[in-house]
Protein backbone atom coordinates (compact mmCIF):
# COMPACT_ATOMS: atom_id res chain seq x y z
CA UNK A 1 0.00 0.00 0.00
CA UNK A 2 1.59 3.25 -1.05
CA UNK A 3 1.73 6.20 1.31
CA UNK A 4 -0.44 8.32 -0.94
CA UNK A 5 -3.26 5.81 -1.02
CA UNK A 6 -3.03 5.49 2.78
CA UNK A 7 -3.46 9.26 2.98
CA UNK A 8 -6.58 8.94 0.83
CA UNK A 9 -7.86 6.30 3.20
CA UNK A 10 -7.22 8.68 6.12
CA UNK A 11 -9.01 11.54 4.40
CA UNK A 12 -12.06 9.53 3.40
CA UNK A 13 -12.26 7.89 6.81
CA UNK A 14 -12.28 11.30 8.50
CA UNK A 15 -14.99 12.59 6.17
CA UNK A 16 -17.05 9.50 6.85
CA UNK A 17 -16.71 10.08 10.60
CA UNK A 18 -17.78 13.71 10.24
CA UNK A 19 -20.80 12.69 8.17
CA UNK A 20 -21.94 9.86 10.42
CA UNK A 21 -22.56 11.99 13.49
CA UNK A 22 -25.25 14.33 12.34
CA UNK A 23 -28.01 14.95 14.83
CA UNK A 24 -27.50 13.03 18.02
CA UNK A 25 -30.05 13.39 20.81
CA UNK A 26 -28.30 14.36 24.09
CA UNK A 27 -29.61 11.12 25.61
CA UNK A 28 -27.18 9.20 23.47
CA UNK A 29 -24.07 11.31 23.95
CA UNK A 30 -22.62 9.14 26.70
CA UNK A 31 -23.36 5.78 25.01
CA UNK A 32 -22.12 7.09 21.67
CA UNK A 33 -18.90 8.30 23.22
CA UNK A 34 -18.42 5.00 24.94
CA UNK A 35 -19.20 2.99 21.78
CA UNK A 36 -16.83 5.08 19.64
CA UNK A 37 -14.27 4.65 22.38
CA UNK A 38 -14.55 0.88 22.11
CA UNK A 39 -13.96 1.13 18.36
CA UNK A 40 -10.77 3.12 18.94
CA UNK A 41 -9.42 -0.05 20.53
CA UNK A 42 -8.97 -1.27 16.94
CA UNK A 43 -5.24 -0.86 17.68
CA UNK A 44 -5.56 -4.45 18.84
CA UNK A 45 -4.92 -5.32 15.17
CA UNK A 46 -1.63 -3.45 15.28
CA UNK A 47 -0.70 -5.27 18.48
CA UNK A 48 -1.56 -8.61 16.82
CA UNK A 49 0.59 -7.75 13.81
CA UNK A 50 3.45 -6.92 16.14
CA UNK A 51 3.20 -10.28 17.91
CA UNK A 52 2.92 -12.28 14.70
CA UNK A 53 5.92 -10.54 13.13
CA UNK A 54 8.05 -10.64 16.30
CA UNK A 55 9.62 -13.96 15.21
CA UNK A 56 10.79 -15.11 18.58
CA UNK A 57 11.99 -11.72 19.80
CA UNK A 58 10.80 -12.08 23.39
CA UNK A 59 10.84 -8.42 24.49
CA UNK A 60 8.84 -7.51 21.39
CA UNK A 61 6.41 -10.37 22.09
CA UNK A 62 5.88 -9.03 25.59
CA UNK A 63 5.35 -5.45 24.40
CA UNK A 64 2.88 -6.72 21.80
CA UNK A 65 1.06 -8.84 24.33
CA UNK A 66 0.75 -6.01 26.86
CA UNK A 67 -0.42 -3.70 24.09
CA UNK A 68 -2.98 -6.31 23.00
CA UNK A 69 -4.16 -6.57 26.61
CA UNK A 70 -4.68 -2.83 26.91
CA UNK A 71 -6.49 -2.68 23.57
CA UNK A 72 -8.82 -5.57 24.39
CA UNK A 73 -9.51 -4.09 27.82
CA UNK A 74 -10.70 -1.01 25.93
CA UNK A 75 -12.68 -2.96 23.30
CA UNK A 76 -14.38 -5.58 25.47
CA UNK A 77 -15.02 -3.24 28.39
CA UNK A 78 -16.20 -0.47 26.08
CA UNK A 79 -18.76 -2.58 24.23
CA UNK A 80 -20.07 -4.23 27.39
CA UNK A 81 -20.51 -0.97 29.23
CA UNK A 82 -22.22 0.63 26.23
CA UNK A 83 -24.57 -2.32 26.00
CA UNK A 84 -25.38 -1.99 29.71
CA UNK A 85 -26.32 1.66 29.23
CA UNK A 86 -28.35 1.05 26.11
CA UNK A 87 -30.14 -1.94 27.63
CA UNK A 88 -31.84 0.49 30.00
CA UNK A 89 -33.24 2.58 27.19
CA UNK A 90 -34.50 -0.32 25.14
CA UNK A 91 -36.13 -1.91 28.19
CA UNK A 92 -38.02 1.31 28.81
CA UNK A 93 -39.35 1.71 25.29
CA UNK A 94 -40.37 -1.92 24.92
CA UNK A 95 -42.19 -1.86 28.27
CA UNK A 96 -44.39 0.96 27.11
CA UNK A 97 -45.40 -0.55 23.85
Amino acid sequence: MSFISLLWVLLLGSLLGLELIGKVPPTLHTPLMSGANAISGITMLAALTLIVKAEGNVPLLIIGSVSLGFALFNVVGGFFVTDRMLAMFSRKTSNKK
Partner: protein, 479 residues
Protein backbone atom coordinates in the same frame (compact mmCIF):
# COMPACT_ATOMS: atom_id res chain seq x y z
CA UNK B 1 -3.43 -11.46 -5.82
CA UNK B 2 -3.47 -14.72 -3.96
CA UNK B 3 -6.33 -16.07 -1.92
CA UNK B 4 -5.41 -14.90 1.64
CA UNK B 5 -4.96 -11.35 0.36
CA UNK B 6 -8.37 -11.39 -1.32
CA UNK B 7 -10.08 -12.85 1.73
CA UNK B 8 -8.52 -10.25 4.01
CA UNK B 9 -9.46 -7.49 1.59
CA UNK B 10 -13.11 -8.59 1.54
CA UNK B 11 -13.28 -9.02 5.32
CA UNK B 12 -11.67 -5.61 5.94
CA UNK B 13 -14.10 -3.95 3.57
CA UNK B 14 -17.03 -5.62 5.30
CA UNK B 15 -15.68 -4.65 8.73
CA UNK B 16 -15.36 -0.98 7.74
CA UNK B 17 -18.88 -0.99 6.36
CA UNK B 18 -20.29 -2.55 9.53
CA UNK B 19 -18.33 -0.18 11.77
CA UNK B 20 -19.68 2.82 9.87
CA UNK B 21 -23.22 1.46 10.13
CA UNK B 22 -22.57 0.87 13.84
CA UNK B 23 -21.54 4.46 14.53
CA UNK B 24 -24.46 5.69 12.47
CA UNK B 25 -26.93 3.49 14.36
CA UNK B 26 -25.54 4.57 17.73
CA UNK B 27 -26.91 8.04 17.14
CA UNK B 28 -30.54 6.89 17.20
CA UNK B 29 -32.30 5.60 20.30
CA UNK B 30 -34.13 2.82 18.52
CA UNK B 31 -31.19 1.27 16.75
CA UNK B 32 -28.47 2.07 19.28
CA UNK B 33 -28.26 -1.27 21.05
CA UNK B 34 -28.16 -3.35 17.87
CA UNK B 35 -25.67 -0.89 16.39
CA UNK B 36 -23.36 -1.36 19.33
CA UNK B 37 -23.49 -5.14 18.86
CA UNK B 38 -22.93 -4.72 15.13
CA UNK B 39 -19.79 -2.69 15.83
CA UNK B 40 -18.58 -5.32 18.29
CA UNK B 41 -19.19 -8.01 15.65
CA UNK B 42 -17.26 -5.96 13.07
CA UNK B 43 -14.32 -5.73 15.45
CA UNK B 44 -14.21 -9.50 15.99
CA UNK B 45 -14.54 -9.98 12.24
CA UNK B 46 -11.49 -7.79 11.69
CA UNK B 47 -9.46 -9.97 14.07
CA UNK B 48 -10.53 -13.10 12.21
CA UNK B 49 -9.57 -11.42 8.94
CA UNK B 50 -6.09 -10.51 10.17
CA UNK B 51 -5.36 -13.88 11.75
CA UNK B 52 -6.57 -15.82 8.71
CA UNK B 53 -4.37 -13.67 6.50
CA UNK B 54 -1.25 -14.51 8.52
CA UNK B 55 -2.23 -18.18 8.74
CA UNK B 56 -2.56 -18.24 4.98
CA UNK B 57 0.72 -16.44 4.27
CA UNK B 58 3.58 -16.46 6.77
CA UNK B 59 1.91 -18.64 9.36
CA UNK B 60 1.76 -17.86 13.06
CA UNK B 61 4.42 -19.33 15.36
CA UNK B 62 3.34 -21.26 18.47
CA UNK B 63 5.18 -18.72 20.58
CA UNK B 64 3.14 -15.90 19.04
CA UNK B 65 -0.09 -17.77 19.74
CA UNK B 66 0.86 -18.10 23.39
CA UNK B 67 1.46 -14.38 23.78
CA UNK B 68 -1.68 -13.55 21.81
CA UNK B 69 -3.78 -15.74 24.09
CA UNK B 70 -2.20 -14.39 27.29
CA UNK B 71 -2.75 -10.77 26.25
CA UNK B 72 -6.29 -11.32 25.01
CA UNK B 73 -7.49 -13.27 28.03
CA UNK B 74 -6.11 -10.85 30.61
CA UNK B 75 -7.27 -7.73 28.77
CA UNK B 76 -10.76 -9.01 27.93
CA UNK B 77 -11.32 -10.46 31.38
CA UNK B 78 -10.47 -7.25 33.22
CA UNK B 79 -12.47 -5.20 30.73
CA UNK B 80 -15.55 -7.39 31.05
CA UNK B 81 -15.39 -7.52 34.86
CA UNK B 82 -15.01 -3.78 35.20
CA UNK B 83 -17.81 -3.15 32.68
CA UNK B 84 -20.19 -5.42 34.60
CA UNK B 85 -19.31 -4.23 38.10
CA UNK B 86 -18.99 -0.47 37.78
CA UNK B 87 -21.98 1.53 39.08
CA UNK B 88 -23.87 3.64 36.56
CA UNK B 89 -22.96 6.81 38.43
CA UNK B 90 -19.28 6.38 37.62
CA UNK B 91 -19.81 5.89 33.89
CA UNK B 92 -17.78 8.96 32.80
CA UNK B 93 -14.64 7.92 34.65
CA UNK B 94 -14.99 4.37 33.33
CA UNK B 95 -15.09 5.63 29.75
CA UNK B 96 -12.02 7.73 30.54
CA UNK B 97 -10.15 4.70 31.86
CA UNK B 98 -10.99 2.54 28.82
CA UNK B 99 -10.00 5.37 26.55
CA UNK B 100 -6.65 5.86 28.28
CA UNK B 101 -5.86 2.18 27.79
CA UNK B 102 -6.61 2.45 24.07
CA UNK B 103 -4.09 5.29 23.89
CA UNK B 104 -1.57 3.20 25.83
CA UNK B 105 -1.98 0.37 23.34
CA UNK B 106 -1.14 2.61 20.37
CA UNK B 107 1.82 4.01 22.29
CA UNK B 108 3.18 0.52 22.99
CA UNK B 109 2.81 -0.63 19.38
CA UNK B 110 4.78 2.38 18.17
CA UNK B 111 7.43 1.89 20.86
CA UNK B 112 7.77 -1.78 19.96
CA UNK B 113 8.22 -1.05 16.26
CA UNK B 114 10.66 1.75 17.00
CA UNK B 115 12.91 -0.23 19.34
CA UNK B 116 12.79 -3.52 17.43
CA UNK B 117 12.22 -2.75 13.74
CA UNK B 118 9.94 -5.40 12.25
CA UNK B 119 11.86 -7.86 10.12
CA UNK B 120 11.68 -7.36 6.38
CA UNK B 121 11.93 -3.62 6.83
CA UNK B 122 15.60 -3.54 5.91
CA UNK B 123 15.62 -5.27 2.54
CA UNK B 124 13.35 -2.83 0.74
CA UNK B 125 14.63 0.15 2.61
CA UNK B 126 13.94 3.48 1.01
CA UNK B 127 14.19 6.92 2.49
CA UNK B 128 10.60 8.03 1.90
CA UNK B 129 9.16 4.88 3.44
CA UNK B 130 11.35 5.13 6.53
CA UNK B 131 10.52 8.82 6.93
CA UNK B 132 6.81 7.99 6.93
CA UNK B 133 7.48 5.26 9.45
CA UNK B 134 9.32 7.61 11.75
CA UNK B 135 6.70 10.32 11.49
CA UNK B 136 3.85 7.91 12.14
CA UNK B 137 5.70 6.29 15.04
CA UNK B 138 6.31 9.72 16.57
CA UNK B 139 2.70 10.81 16.12
CA UNK B 140 1.45 7.55 17.56
CA UNK B 141 3.67 7.91 20.63
CA UNK B 142 2.87 11.60 21.10
CA UNK B 143 -0.92 11.28 20.81
CA UNK B 144 -1.02 7.91 22.58
CA UNK B 145 0.89 9.23 25.60
CA UNK B 146 -1.27 12.36 25.87
CA UNK B 147 -4.41 10.24 25.62
CA UNK B 148 -3.19 7.87 28.30
CA UNK B 149 -2.04 10.34 30.96
CA UNK B 150 -4.83 12.80 30.18
CA UNK B 151 -7.49 10.12 30.55
CA UNK B 152 -6.01 8.81 33.78
CA UNK B 153 -5.93 12.32 35.25
CA UNK B 154 -9.53 12.90 34.09
CA UNK B 155 -10.59 9.65 35.71
CA UNK B 156 -8.79 10.43 38.96
CA UNK B 157 -10.37 13.87 39.13
CA UNK B 158 -13.88 12.55 38.50
CA UNK B 159 -13.35 9.85 41.13
CA UNK B 160 -12.25 12.53 43.56
CA UNK B 161 -8.78 11.03 43.92
CA UNK B 162 -7.21 14.20 42.59
CA UNK B 163 -8.27 17.74 43.34
CA UNK B 164 -7.27 20.77 41.30
CA UNK B 165 -4.01 22.02 42.83
CA UNK B 166 -3.93 25.76 43.40
CA UNK B 167 -0.82 26.45 41.35
CA UNK B 168 -2.42 24.98 38.24
CA UNK B 169 -4.85 27.89 38.22
CA UNK B 170 -2.10 30.51 37.98
CA UNK B 171 -0.54 31.61 34.71
CA UNK B 172 2.50 29.45 35.49
CA UNK B 173 0.71 26.42 34.05
CA UNK B 174 0.72 27.89 30.54
CA UNK B 175 4.46 28.38 30.78
CA UNK B 176 5.00 24.84 32.05
CA UNK B 177 2.82 23.36 29.31
CA UNK B 178 4.55 25.39 26.62
CA UNK B 179 7.88 24.03 27.85
CA UNK B 180 6.50 20.47 27.64
CA UNK B 181 5.09 21.12 24.17
CA UNK B 182 8.34 22.61 22.86
CA UNK B 183 10.31 19.74 24.37
CA UNK B 184 7.99 17.22 22.66
CA UNK B 185 8.48 18.91 19.32
CA UNK B 186 12.26 18.88 19.74
CA UNK B 187 12.13 15.18 20.59
CA UNK B 188 9.72 14.64 17.69
CA UNK B 189 12.07 16.14 15.10
CA UNK B 190 15.13 14.57 16.68
CA UNK B 191 13.44 11.20 16.33
CA UNK B 192 12.53 11.83 12.71
CA UNK B 193 16.16 12.77 12.09
CA UNK B 194 17.04 9.24 13.08
CA UNK B 195 18.15 9.79 16.66
CA UNK B 196 16.22 6.89 18.18
CA UNK B 197 17.35 7.59 21.75
CA UNK B 198 15.14 10.67 21.88
CA UNK B 199 12.13 8.33 21.77
CA UNK B 200 12.19 8.15 25.57
CA UNK B 201 12.28 11.93 25.84
CA UNK B 202 9.20 12.03 23.59
CA UNK B 203 7.39 9.47 25.76
CA UNK B 204 8.16 11.37 28.96
CA UNK B 205 7.40 14.92 27.84
CA UNK B 206 4.22 14.04 25.97
CA UNK B 207 3.02 12.14 29.04
CA UNK B 208 3.75 15.20 31.17
CA UNK B 209 1.96 17.39 28.62
CA UNK B 210 -1.14 15.23 28.93
CA UNK B 211 -1.09 15.67 32.70
CA UNK B 212 -0.30 19.38 32.55
CA UNK B 213 -3.15 20.16 30.19
CA UNK B 214 -5.81 18.06 31.95
CA UNK B 215 -4.99 18.84 35.58
CA UNK B 216 -6.17 22.49 35.64
CA UNK B 217 -9.53 21.72 34.03
CA UNK B 218 -12.50 21.87 36.38
CA UNK B 219 -14.79 18.93 37.03
CA UNK B 220 -17.71 20.46 35.15
CA UNK B 221 -15.71 20.55 31.93
CA UNK B 222 -14.34 17.02 32.30
CA UNK B 223 -16.93 15.40 29.98
CA UNK B 224 -15.77 17.62 27.14
CA UNK B 225 -12.17 16.67 27.85
CA UNK B 226 -13.02 12.96 27.88
CA UNK B 227 -14.80 13.33 24.57
CA UNK B 228 -11.79 15.14 23.12
CA UNK B 229 -9.40 12.49 24.46
CA UNK B 230 -11.66 9.89 22.88
CA UNK B 231 -11.12 11.62 19.59
CA UNK B 232 -7.35 11.58 20.25
CA UNK B 233 -7.33 7.85 20.84
CA UNK B 234 -8.88 7.49 17.37
CA UNK B 235 -6.08 9.60 15.92
CA UNK B 236 -3.50 7.50 17.80
CA UNK B 237 -5.07 4.36 16.31
CA UNK B 238 -4.92 5.86 12.80
CA UNK B 239 -1.24 6.73 13.35
CA UNK B 240 -0.60 3.17 14.49
CA UNK B 241 -2.31 2.13 11.25
CA UNK B 242 0.39 3.95 9.28
CA UNK B 243 3.04 2.26 11.43
CA UNK B 244 1.87 -1.28 10.64
CA UNK B 245 0.49 -0.47 7.18
CA UNK B 246 -3.16 -1.28 7.89
CA UNK B 247 -5.92 0.54 6.02
CA UNK B 248 -8.56 -0.83 8.36
CA UNK B 249 -6.85 0.78 11.35
CA UNK B 250 -6.55 4.08 9.52
CA UNK B 251 -10.21 4.16 8.47
CA UNK B 252 -11.55 3.13 11.89
CA UNK B 253 -9.18 5.46 13.73
CA UNK B 254 -10.04 8.40 11.47
CA UNK B 255 -13.77 7.72 11.85
CA UNK B 256 -13.56 7.70 15.64
CA UNK B 257 -11.29 10.74 15.61
CA UNK B 258 -13.65 12.78 13.45
CA UNK B 259 -16.82 11.59 15.19
CA UNK B 260 -15.24 12.38 18.57
CA UNK B 261 -14.47 15.92 17.45
CA UNK B 262 -18.07 16.50 16.37
CA UNK B 263 -19.39 15.10 19.64
CA UNK B 264 -17.02 17.36 21.57
CA UNK B 265 -18.32 20.33 19.62
CA UNK B 266 -21.94 19.37 20.37
CA UNK B 267 -21.16 19.09 24.08
CA UNK B 268 -19.43 22.47 24.15
CA UNK B 269 -22.50 24.05 22.58
CA UNK B 270 -24.74 22.57 25.26
CA UNK B 271 -22.62 24.16 27.96
CA UNK B 272 -22.14 27.45 26.16
CA UNK B 273 -18.39 27.00 26.35
CA UNK B 274 -15.87 27.15 23.57
CA UNK B 275 -13.36 24.35 23.25
CA UNK B 276 -10.54 26.86 23.68
CA UNK B 277 -11.89 28.13 26.98
CA UNK B 278 -12.40 24.59 28.23
CA UNK B 279 -8.82 23.64 27.39
CA UNK B 280 -7.01 26.79 28.42
CA UNK B 281 -9.45 28.66 30.64
CA UNK B 282 -8.79 26.61 33.74
CA UNK B 283 -11.49 25.85 36.23
CA UNK B 284 -14.52 28.10 35.87
CA UNK B 285 -14.97 28.47 39.61
CA UNK B 286 -11.45 29.75 40.09
CA UNK B 287 -11.94 32.66 37.69
CA UNK B 288 -15.31 33.74 38.85
CA UNK B 289 -15.20 33.66 42.64
CA UNK B 290 -13.47 37.01 42.66
CA UNK B 291 -15.57 38.68 40.00
CA UNK B 292 -19.03 37.75 41.17
CA UNK B 293 -19.11 37.44 44.89
CA UNK B 294 -21.94 39.79 44.05
CA UNK B 295 -23.79 39.99 47.26
CA UNK B 296 -25.21 37.68 49.84
CA UNK B 297 -28.56 35.97 49.74
CA UNK B 298 -31.16 38.29 51.22
CA UNK B 299 -34.45 36.52 50.89
CA UNK B 300 -34.01 32.82 51.55
CA UNK B 301 -37.15 30.92 52.48
CA UNK B 302 -36.51 27.58 54.04
CA UNK B 303 -39.29 25.07 54.55
CA UNK B 304 -39.86 21.66 56.04
CA UNK B 305 -40.42 18.43 54.16
CA UNK B 306 -44.00 18.43 55.45
CA UNK B 307 -44.85 21.72 53.75
CA UNK B 308 -43.23 20.45 50.58
CA UNK B 309 -45.39 17.32 50.70
CA UNK B 310 -48.55 19.36 51.25
CA UNK B 311 -47.83 21.55 48.23
CA UNK B 312 -47.02 18.53 46.10
CA UNK B 313 -50.27 16.84 47.07
CA UNK B 314 -52.26 19.84 45.87
CA UNK B 315 -50.43 20.10 42.56
CA UNK B 316 -51.66 19.07 39.12
CA UNK B 317 -48.39 19.26 37.31
CA UNK B 318 -44.93 18.67 38.74
CA UNK B 319 -41.60 19.02 36.95
CA UNK B 320 -38.50 17.38 38.42
CA UNK B 321 -35.11 18.95 37.66
CA UNK B 322 -32.45 16.37 38.51
CA UNK B 323 -28.80 17.37 38.69
CA UNK B 324 -25.41 16.15 39.64
CA UNK B 325 -26.26 16.19 43.36
CA UNK B 326 -28.92 13.54 42.74
CA UNK B 327 -26.35 11.29 41.11
CA UNK B 328 -23.90 11.77 43.98
CA UNK B 329 -26.57 10.95 46.57
CA UNK B 330 -27.53 7.88 44.46
CA UNK B 331 -31.09 8.99 45.05
CA UNK B 332 -32.56 8.21 41.63
CA UNK B 333 -34.43 5.14 42.92
CA UNK B 334 -35.89 7.04 45.88
CA UNK B 335 -36.92 9.82 43.53
CA UNK B 336 -38.72 7.28 41.37
CA UNK B 337 -40.72 6.12 44.42
CA UNK B 338 -41.79 9.68 45.15
CA UNK B 339 -42.90 10.29 41.59
CA UNK B 340 -44.73 6.96 41.48
CA UNK B 341 -46.82 8.06 44.45
CA UNK B 342 -47.58 11.39 42.81
CA UNK B 343 -48.57 9.69 39.57
CA UNK B 344 -50.90 7.33 41.40
CA UNK B 345 -52.66 10.44 42.69
CA UNK B 346 -53.21 11.64 39.14
CA UNK B 347 -50.49 14.27 39.21
CA UNK B 348 -48.63 14.75 35.95
CA UNK B 349 -44.89 14.27 36.45
CA UNK B 350 -42.21 15.18 33.94
CA UNK B 351 -38.42 15.25 34.24
CA UNK B 352 -36.63 18.24 32.77
CA UNK B 353 -33.21 17.18 31.54
CA UNK B 354 -30.69 19.92 30.94
CA UNK B 355 -28.21 18.99 28.18
CA UNK B 356 -25.38 18.78 30.70
CA UNK B 357 -27.31 17.42 33.68
CA UNK B 358 -25.24 14.91 35.61
CA UNK B 359 -21.64 14.66 34.67
CA UNK B 360 -21.92 14.01 31.00
CA UNK B 361 -24.58 14.71 28.41
CA UNK B 362 -27.01 11.85 28.56
CA UNK B 363 -25.65 10.63 31.87
CA UNK B 364 -28.77 11.69 33.77
CA UNK B 365 -30.96 9.84 31.27
CA UNK B 366 -28.97 6.69 31.91
CA UNK B 367 -29.31 7.08 35.68
CA UNK B 368 -33.06 7.69 35.53
CA UNK B 369 -33.53 4.84 33.10
CA UNK B 370 -31.75 2.63 35.62
CA UNK B 371 -34.38 3.66 38.18
CA UNK B 372 -37.18 2.58 35.82
CA UNK B 373 -38.31 6.06 34.86
CA UNK B 374 -40.25 5.75 31.57
CA UNK B 375 -38.24 7.19 28.72
CA UNK B 376 -41.24 9.27 27.58
CA UNK B 377 -41.22 11.29 30.81
CA UNK B 378 -37.75 12.68 30.17
CA UNK B 379 -38.08 16.01 28.41
CA UNK B 380 -35.25 17.96 26.86
CA UNK B 381 -34.71 21.57 27.83
CA UNK B 382 -36.15 23.17 24.69
CA UNK B 383 -39.26 21.02 24.90
CA UNK B 384 -39.95 21.59 28.58
CA UNK B 385 -39.10 25.31 28.94
CA UNK B 386 -42.48 26.58 27.61
CA UNK B 387 -44.24 24.32 30.14
CA UNK B 388 -42.94 25.97 33.30
CA UNK B 389 -45.54 28.81 33.52
CA UNK B 390 -48.29 26.16 33.59
CA UNK B 391 -46.54 24.10 36.25
CA UNK B 392 -47.54 24.05 39.92
CA UNK B 393 -44.45 22.68 41.54
CA UNK B 394 -40.86 22.31 40.42
CA UNK B 395 -38.55 20.08 42.43
CA UNK B 396 -34.88 20.97 41.91
CA UNK B 397 -32.73 18.07 43.07
CA UNK B 398 -29.03 18.73 43.27
CA UNK B 399 -29.02 21.01 40.24
CA UNK B 400 -27.75 24.54 40.58
CA UNK B 401 -26.14 26.43 37.72
CA UNK B 402 -28.54 25.01 35.15
CA UNK B 403 -31.48 26.72 36.90
CA UNK B 404 -29.78 30.05 37.56
CA UNK B 405 -31.81 32.92 36.04
CA UNK B 406 -28.62 35.01 35.97
CA UNK B 407 -27.72 33.25 32.76
CA UNK B 408 -30.66 35.03 31.11
CA UNK B 409 -30.86 38.32 33.03
CA UNK B 410 -27.41 39.40 34.08
CA UNK B 411 -25.04 40.14 31.21
CA UNK B 412 -22.14 40.60 33.65
CA UNK B 413 -22.52 37.08 34.99
CA UNK B 414 -19.98 34.48 33.88
CA UNK B 415 -22.94 32.21 33.25
CA UNK B 416 -24.58 34.70 30.91
CA UNK B 417 -25.69 33.06 27.69
CA UNK B 418 -25.68 29.51 28.99
CA UNK B 419 -29.00 27.82 28.18
CA UNK B 420 -30.91 27.26 31.42
CA UNK B 421 -34.22 25.80 32.57
CA UNK B 422 -36.75 28.55 33.35
CA UNK B 423 -37.91 27.02 36.61
CA UNK B 424 -38.66 30.42 38.19
CA UNK B 425 -41.72 30.66 35.88
CA UNK B 426 -43.46 27.93 37.85
CA UNK B 427 -45.84 28.68 40.71
CA UNK B 428 -43.68 27.13 43.43
CA UNK B 429 -40.09 25.96 43.31
CA UNK B 430 -38.57 23.66 45.90
CA UNK B 431 -34.81 23.41 45.92
CA UNK B 432 -33.51 20.38 47.77
CA UNK B 433 -29.94 21.11 48.67
CA UNK B 434 -27.44 20.25 51.36
CA UNK B 435 -26.52 23.83 52.19
CA UNK B 436 -26.06 27.22 50.61
CA UNK B 437 -22.83 26.30 48.84
CA UNK B 438 -22.49 27.38 45.24
CA UNK B 439 -22.58 25.12 42.18
CA UNK B 440 -19.66 24.27 39.90
CA UNK B 441 -19.42 27.82 38.69
CA UNK B 442 -19.13 29.18 42.23
CA UNK B 443 -21.76 31.77 41.42
CA UNK B 444 -24.64 32.92 43.56
CA UNK B 445 -27.95 31.53 42.31
CA UNK B 446 -30.58 34.28 42.05
CA UNK B 447 -33.28 31.64 41.98
CA UNK B 448 -32.86 30.98 45.72
CA UNK B 449 -33.77 34.61 46.52
CA UNK B 450 -37.04 34.62 44.59
CA UNK B 451 -40.29 34.75 46.61
CA UNK B 452 -41.68 31.59 45.00
CA UNK B 453 -38.60 29.54 45.86
CA UNK B 454 -38.31 27.54 49.05
CA UNK B 455 -35.22 25.70 50.17
CA UNK B 456 -35.46 22.24 51.69
CA UNK B 457 -32.11 21.61 53.31
CA UNK B 458 -30.70 18.11 53.55
CA UNK B 459 -29.14 15.25 51.65
CA UNK B 460 -31.23 14.49 48.56
CA UNK B 461 -31.77 10.85 49.45
CA UNK B 462 -32.79 11.58 53.04
CA UNK B 463 -35.15 14.38 52.05
CA UNK B 464 -36.79 12.16 49.43
CA UNK B 465 -37.18 9.34 51.95
CA UNK B 466 -38.81 11.76 54.41
CA UNK B 467 -40.99 12.98 51.58
CA UNK B 468 -42.22 9.45 50.90
CA UNK B 469 -43.17 9.20 54.58
CA UNK B 470 -45.02 12.50 54.56
CA UNK B 471 -46.86 11.62 51.36
CA UNK B 472 -47.90 8.32 52.92
CA UNK B 473 -49.31 10.19 55.94
CA UNK B 474 -51.29 12.37 53.57
CA UNK B 475 -52.66 9.28 51.88
CA UNK B 476 -51.09 10.12 48.55
CA UNK B 477 -50.74 7.23 46.16
CA UNK B 478 -52.88 4.81 48.12
CA UNK B 479 -55.98 4.87 46.07
Amino acid sequence: MNLPVIIKFVIDLLAVLLLALGIKGLSKVKSARDANRLAAFAMSLSVVGLLSYYLGTSGIAIQSWIWIIIGSIIGSLFGAILAKKVPMTSMPETVALFNGCGGMSSLLVALGVAIFPISGGQENFDFFKSLINEVSISVSIFVGAITFTGSIVAMAKLQGWLSTPGWTQSKVRHFVNIVFAVASFIAFFDLINGNTSSIWLLVIVSSLLGIGVTLPIGGADMPVVISLLNSYSGIAAAAAGFVVDSQLLIVAGAMVGAAGLILTQVMCKGMNRSLVSVLFGGSLSAQSTASSGSGEYTNITSCSVEECALTLEAANKVIIVPGYGLAVAQAQHTLREVTKKLEQNGIEVVYAIHPVAGRMPGHMNVLLAEADVPYEQLKEMDVVNPDFPATDVVLVLGANDVVNPQAKNDSSSPLYGMPVLDVQEARTVFVIKRGMSAGYSGIKNDLFDLPNTSMVFGDAKKVLNDLIGELKDLGVGEK
